[in-house]
Subunit: 314 residues, 2 copies
């Protein structure tokens, strides 16, 4: 198993990625081979300093970097030797089984869409977030920003993608799928929710349990909650801010600690043909460990194969 990491992405590159690699290799019983893409002049000394075993990693030199404020499409086209472009090339050609980057989010999305491409039958790939439930369980919310405007058929696909992710990656058997709405009864909501409900109800590939409201997001009423990317993005950023505000005010509780989204690493792009994981720019070592583990699990469970099969059988 081979996982490719962009060493140049994020606010603390490449140091925190190296620390994460050290921790991953220490913890993993049978670690994947890691391809480390980036400027070897910066990477190699750190690998030595942090005593990374040379047989567990392979540095792949990429002299260019796409900055976080560059135009994604233009940068990907012009900077073919950037760490993101090289990473996607390794993934697309099958030399790596997954690609992880904390770099320019837009470039990661463009790469996922155009160099990896959506699976056959998927209208819109999506990104999700883990939601910490009040009883200690973990749920999934999607879309969280990739698709600001959605149609009912998009949400219906997010439901299936999220359901498969919850089953195979989060280990939730027969995950309960709910529609985020502003009322509990069928027929409530905006036009999107009204149009989505019947599709989810008729979708025999998911375990649809009805509507949930904003008050239920942090409760264990559903394992997978679907919504448009505008609403989901607002929720995700509010949840992140709850951690930041309570942390700053020194309000301490293990439940609030679970709102530290760094714990969860990045978000995979669901619905594209191969595992692509986009990390937060502020990712530190712990986040990199979480993402490498996630990539490993996505490969080991053949999540993409299962998603493809589900969309083919429709």
């Amino acid at each position: 198993m081979t996982i490719c990491l962009d060493m140049m992405g994020g606010d603390f590159a490449p140091l925190e990625a190296v620390k994460g690699i050290r921790d991953y290799l220490t913890e993993a019983a049978n670690p994947a081979l890691l391809f480390l893409v980036g400027d070897e002049a910066q990477i190699n000394p750190l690998l030595q300093e942090y005593k990374i075993p040379a047989d567990k990693v392979k540095v792949i030199h990429a002299p260019q970097v796409i900055d976080y404020n560059e135009s994604p499409t233009k940068a990907l086209k012009e900077k073919q030797q950037s760490s993101i472009a090289v990473g996607f090339h390794l993934l697309a050609t099958g030399k790596a089984g997954a690609f992880i980057s904390a770099g320019n989010t837009g470039a990661m999305l463009v790469g996922a869409m155009y160099s990896i491409k959506p699976m056959e039958g998927v209208l819109r790939p999506t990104i999700s977030t883990i939601i910490p439930k009040d009883n200690g369980n973990t749920g999934l919310l999607l879309d969280v920003g990739l698709n600001a405007d959605c149609k009912p058929e998009h949400l219906n696909q997010f439901a299936l993608l999220g359901s498969l992710y919850a089953k195979h990656i989060l280990g939730i058997d027969n995950p309960r799928v709910a529609l985020l709405n502003i009322g509990e009864e069928e027929g409530k909501g905006n036009l999107l929710a009204q149009g989505t409900y019947p599709l989810l109800k008729e979708n025999d590939q998911i375990n649809f349990t009805g509507n949930v409201e904003g008050r239920d997001v942090f409760l264990d009423k559903a394992d997978v909650v679907v919504c448009d990317g505008f609403t989901g993005n607002v929720i995700l950023k509010m949840a992140e801010s709850i951690y930041e505000i309570t942390h700053r005010k020194e309000i301490k509780h293990e439940y609030l600690d679970r709102f530290n989204f760094e714990l969860y690493g990045g978000t995979p792009v669901l619905g594209v043909a191969k595992p692509v994981i986009i990390a937060h720019g502020i990712s530190k070592a712990k986040a990199f460990v979480a993402m490498i583990n996630l990539a490993e699990k996505m490969i080991a469970t053949d999540l993409m194969g299962k998603m493809k099969a589900s969309f083919e059988s429709k």
Copy 2:
């Protein structure tokens, strides 16, 4: 000044309303005359028990009650002797200056729209919520559920209504108005946000300061935040659940206490011609005091007159 209260609305009617009236009359230097609408057989013994001075209140008998699960339009038409119908009649005919109820929300909205009616020029009346900011300040978010599907011109009107409310009721001078969005720059967002931004920018009746994101909702980046009623409702209910979850887990902090939405009483319907305040069904004494004070302030500042003037001058 006369304020009309529905005594039969909410989960704890009429007891908690009576307790609230007692507290209001104890605290107010120059209290308004209160019209108490409902079943006099239930109300009168409580007024005696709680020693409410007879010259400060006037019981107006209404033998019918609209239950929380009745169809609003049908119930209002058929139950002309219900406390909500009678309350709206008193408000519409000018016998009361404001109407407050914790009863059937739908019936309150239907009454506000059809028996009081929107102000000239207002396309869609709206409801808002108070948002506790991390620095101790208070902001306003609207719409929070009355308008699940919105157009840019609706959000532009919510911005003006919210701005006037923030100025005259919350006492915020030249309130900063922001658009809830999923990115900071102009041009970001879903089609609604993209269409709304230029209208807000050109609106010279408000102090538009740009986009805010989900992470900013609880920060003091803007005084008034506008969004569609679907997103706003999800935010409001999430914020309510933060209080409930942290309270249940005994996570104590004065900042979290401010998420107890009972403190703020109900929400006025902004954009209708007269003060209508809709309370949460679980309202207790403290909420009733807050709502009576709010009604008083709406009358004393002539908020409705100021809103009308602003819409006429457009």
